[in-house]
Structure formats: C-alpha cells, structure tokens
C-alpha cells in the first residue's frame, strides 16, 4: 500500500485561493460546497506606549487545506454504515454514496472540517484526493492549479521529507487523527492547537 499525502508550503502561499476554485470548477461544486478551503489565521494586537511609540504583535498567514486522509480518520471511525472509508491501496478517505445514509456524523466529528452532507444529493461529499486523476498518474487539480507551487501531493514518504505533520494553527494537534498533511510553516505560523490566532474568514470556510 502507498499512503498518499498532501504537502503545504506556508512560506509560498499567498492566499490567492486558486486551489479552492480550481477544485470547485473541476467538480462543478455548488455555492455551498467546497472541498478545499483557505483559512486565514490572524491574531496579535497593536499598541501605543506613552511616548507615542507604536508596536505590534499582529500576524496573519494562510493555510490551504482539504481532507487530510488521516491515518486514524475521525469521520470513518464514527460512520455508522462504513460508507466513509479509507482505501486500502492509496489510504485516501472517501464516501461510498451507495452506503451513506447522510446522517452527518462524519461532518460533526472531523476536526479538519472536511466532509459535509450535500442535502440535494442526500449523502456526504468531500475531497477524495482526486483519486481518479491520481490513478492515471496525474496530480490533484488543486496542486496543479497553485500558481505559487505551495501545494504538493505524493507518497507519504516523499511528502514527509518536506515538512512536519499538521503542525500549525488553526489545525488541532495532529495526535487526534494523524493527518497526512505535511507543512512547511511560514515565519509567522503558530503551533498547532495554539489559541493565539483565530480564523478570520469563518463565513467563507464554514
């Protein structure tokens, strides 16, 4: 088995969201559904001392993320039907629409905000790592589309050489589900689980 993984280079991402829209376009997703999201993580404050000297601890950085095809996926663990499953050859997590009841438990349990029930389709939908493209030797569409080459995808042995496993906020500590997302952090990035920063674009990503 080859476990596939994503790599995200925070030092290159400009937050342009081309990845997000390439995915939406490729899969013809409706306005309410997006498989890849770009999170804007911001925090800190600006203050002025008695001499009028202004100093700041403000920071802002981006994290582009879809499903992390975790080693211990919370979604698959709670799925009552087994529709949410991890492929035994590629380690990619996807939904078997013929089994899914659309209960929404995967959405409730995933700490990376990946699966969601599409009410019109009646079942869960999510990033499947562009399994069909990967099977044909191509890269996922988001990776291909990134103009800054901040995204990469491949066997976990290669991706893990380029960064650390899900180690920056707004992600939770990686120990919960062991995500297959390896990150090279930007200079301002806070460690995973840090509460210093908040997601500044919640309405866009939730």
């Amino acid at each position: 088995m080859t476990q596939y993984a994503f790599h995200f280079d925070g030092s290159r991402c400009t937050g342009c969201k081309t990845c997000e829209f390439a995915c939406k376009d490729y899969y013809d997703l409706d306005t309410d559904v997006q498989y890849r999201k770009v999170y804007e993580c911001t925090g800190g404050e600006t203050s002025k001392d008695e001499n009028g000297y202004v100093s700041t601890t403000c920071f802002a950085y981006y994290v582009s993320m879809s499903c992390n095809h975790c080693d211990d996926p919370a979604c698959a663990k709670v799925c009552p039907t087994g529709a949410m499953h991890k492929d035994s050859d590629t380690g990619l997590v996807s939904v078997d629409a013929d089994k899914c009841v659309g209960c929404g438990y995967c959405h409730m349990a995933c700490p990376y905000n990946a699966p969601k029930v599409d009410r019109e389709k009646g079942h869960s939908v999510k990033c499947d790592g562009c399994a069909e493209r990967v099977a044909q030797g191509e890269q996922p569409i988001c990776v291909r589309a990134c103009p800054a080459r901040a995204l990469d995808f491949g066997p976990v042995e290669e991706m893990s050489k380029m960064g650390e496993r899900g180690n920056i906020a707004p992600l939770p500590e990686s120990t919960y589900t062991n995500p297959n997302l390896y990150i090279k952090p930007s200079k301002d990035a806070k460690p995973a689980g840090s509460k210093d920063g908040k997601v500044a674009n919640p309405l866009e990503v939730m």
């Binding site: 919370a74 009841v101 659309g102 929404g104 389709k121 009646g122 509460k195």
Partner: protein, 296 residues
C-alpha cells in the same frame, strides 16, 4: 457571525428524538414496575399493559422523527454494519432491540390468556434493554474530536433529563390505566424522583455552563455557540418545576384530605411542561457542537 443556531435547527428532529425517547423509555420502565409483582389482579395488569402504548408511542415518535433527518434513508440497513465501532450504530441497534422487546411484550398482552410468569420475565428483559438504550443515546456522540460533547456532563444530563421527564409520563400512563396507587403513594414517589433528578440536573447544567468558555478551538469557544445557556437552563428549570408542581399539588393535597383529583388532562399537562423544558436543553446541546479543530 457563527452561532450554534444553524446546527440545532439542522438537527431539530434529533432534538425531538433525544427529548422524547429517553423519557419514554424511563416511563415504560416505571410503568412496568407494578407488573413485576406476581399478585397483581388480572384486570389491572391488562389495563397497564395496554397503556404501555403511551410511553412506547412517545419513544417511537422520537425514533421515526430522527430517521427523517437522514439524507438517504434507503441505505439505513447498512447502519447495522457499524455496531460496536460507531456509537451511532450502537444506539440505533439498542433502540431496535428495546422497541422489539417492548413491542412484542405489548402485543402479547392482548392474547386471550397471557402467561403471567412469561410476561414478568419478558418485562424485566425489556426494562434492561431500556436502560441500555438510554445509555447508548447518552453516549451516541462520544467522539474525542467533538470537544464540547466529550465531557462527563453530556451523558449525565441526558440520563437526568430522562429521570425528570420519565416519571411524569409514567404518571400519565398509570393514571390513564386507572391504576389507583398512582393517585397516592406511588404518584408521590414518582414526583419525588422527578424533583430529585431536576435538582441534580440543574447542578450538572450549571457546572457544564461554567466550563464552556474554556472549551475553545481556532474559531470560537463553546460559550459563544450558546450565548444564552444560563437563560435556557433557567427556562428548563421553570418549565420542569411547573410540570412537577401541577402533579404534586394534587397528589400532596390528597394526602392531607384535599378534594382535588388527579385528572388525565392535568397529568398530561404536567408531563408536556417537563418535556418542553427538556426540549429547550436538547436544543442547546446541539447548538453547542464544535470540534477540537475547525468545526462548529
């Protein structure tokens, strides 16, 4: 701004299910207690048996309502594949076992000459299945990544809710079945259970509320999701206390020689008030949903 309102409204059928089913099961168990006795007159037994339909229908309405929130109910049978792994599958399985046992018991009670020994053993079995079912509902969302639900208060509150609402619903069932003791000592005992559970429940909700601001992810804290949690707890307390009061007023007045009678309407109103209060708290529960990472 993000709020928990969308989650709760989206899961409104589950709010209804988790309000009705646990109280229905507890009411079934409490109504069944007199049936465990061997010396119950045949007619009395038959009447109580028949009106077990009240708690059973209450539980069933909840279960049917919960099925309507599914995106594709046609695949529902696959749910049994996850029993033991997924807490949701386990819950559904326990529900089916309880309803099958209780339903068959109820149907058997209509036979011409039911065997009392078999009925008593069967009832005891259904009661155990009921306790297991309520416990499975209490732990249905026990997933480590859902931080606001992965606390001791969640299963505790669900059980206490059931012990507040269940006894009052049992009073309705027993009263409709014209089981005399419910208008006296048994009725007072049931009301006492309800009020004790209410007191414990209010303490538990209070402690849970105090901890919500500390449950935080990168979007917000659990207390942001239920900004009026304190108010909701108060509404629950007032409604449940009013319900208990409606029953208690008559039951305790009778002991001191009062002329008031416990009518069916009064008992039903008492039960409805308590269930309305529980509904408010179940709504708050779904509002509170958030994950350790990026989910509300």
């Amino acid at each position: 701004m993000l709020s928990g309102m969308d989650t709760a409204l989206g899961e409104i059928t589950l709010v209804l299910f988790t309000t009705l089913a646990p109280s229905g099961v507890v009411a079934f168990i409490l109504m069944g207690l007199p049936l465990l006795r061997g010396d119950l007159p045949v007619e009395t037994r038959r009447r109580i048996d028949q009106f077990l339909s009240i708690p059973l229908v209450t539980s069933m309405v909840g279960l049917v309502a919960s099925a309507t929130h599914l995106g594709n109910p046609a695949n529902a049978l696959y749910v049994f594949l996850g029993v033991g792994r997924s807490p949701l599958s386990t819950e559904v399985f326990c529900a089916v076992v309880f309803l099958a046992l209780a339903g068959v018991y109820w149907l058997y009670s209509f036979s011409q000459r039911p065997r009392t020994g078999l009925q008593r053993a069967w009832m005891a079995l259904a009661m155990v299945a009921g306790v297991v079912f309520v416990t499975s509902v209490a732990f249905a969302y026990s997933a480590e990544t859902i931080v606001s639900w992965y606390t001791v208060y969640v299963p505790l509150n669900l059980w206490l809710n059931a012990l507040v609402g269940g006894p009052l619903l049992a009073v309705v069932g027993l009263r409709v079945a014209r089981y005399r003791p419910v208008e006296d000592r048994l009725g007072r005992a049931l009301v006492a259970v309800s009020i004790a559970a209410l007191a414990a429940n209010l303490v538990s909700f209070g402690l849970q509320s105090a901890g919500l601001p500390r449950i935080e992810n990168s979007l917000l804290s659990a207390s942001d999701l239920v900004p009026y949690y304190g108010l909701m707890i108060a509404v629950f307390g007032v409604l449940a206390l009013a319900g208990i009061g409606v029953d208690a007023r008559v039951l305790y007045a009778r002991r001191s020689g009062g002329a008031l009678r416990l009518t069916v309407g009064r008992a039903a109103a008492a039960s409805a008030l308590a269930l309305a209060g529980i509904f408010v708290m179940r709504f708050a529960f779904y509002m509170m949903h958030m994950t350790v990472g990026l989910g509300v």
